[in-house]
């Protein structure tokens, strides 16, 4: 099973600040997904990155996939309280039947 390390584990910031969350592995990712889980709900997919060096934007969120496909980052510009939640990265890692391995997550709190 491919191991994913996320950092930081906790992030507490003020509204308007920028932040970056990281997801790293010692193995190459076949693809990588980022999910957000709001309190009391299940995770929801934000984006899937597949190609090394790929950059995807989703409003104030920018996702990067490392050139070597061993790392990824999620950058949030001008964070808002609505961004509060748990951010998870996950990879299929060549497994069958759609099985994903997840990192331990980053808990983000954005204070008004």
């Amino acid at each position: 099973t491919q191991l994913l390390e996320q950092s930081p584990q906790f992030l507490s910031i003020q509204e308007g600040e920028n932040l970056t969350v990281y997801c790293n592995s010692s193995s190459v990712f076949s693809s990588l997904q980022w999910y957000r889980q709001e309190p009391g709900e299940g995770p929801v997919l934000l984006v899937t990155v597949v190609t090394g060096g790929e950059v995807k934007k989703l409003k104030r969120l920018t996702f990067q996939f490392g050139d070597a496909r061993k790392d990824s980052s999620l950058h949030i510009t001008a964070a808002q309280p609505g961004d509060t939640g748990l951010y998870l990265c996950g990879t299929a890692g060549g497994t069958s039947y759609g099985k994903l391995t997840f990192g331990q997550g980053t808990i983000l709190t954005v204070h008004p």
């Binding site: 299940g42 998870l88 039947y97 099985k99």
Partner: protein, 114 residues
Amino acid sequence: DVKVTQSSRYLVKRTGEKVFLECVQDMDHENMFWYRQDPGLGLRLIYFSYDVKMKEKGDIPEGYSVSREKKERFSLILESASTNQTSMYLCASSLRLAGLETQYFGPGTRLLVL
């Protein structure tokens, strides 16, 4: 929109009780998954199923069993609940297509075993 529903949001059980957690999805997905989520440990896969009556062990299957008699329904069974099974349980489903492993999650069941 894909909808994954779980039978209970909150459940309180006693040690030794048999516990059933039900999950239903309405998008004809082949794959279904059961995870438990604990602080600092992320999502850990308990069992998954890629077809009716088929099941595979995940990373932490001990103390759990599953049942998939119909495509839309995947049940998680705790044969004899223990306090260390107190956790958040999440069900998910996905299509069986390489490169399309997006998982759709239910809202979770928070189980407390006393």
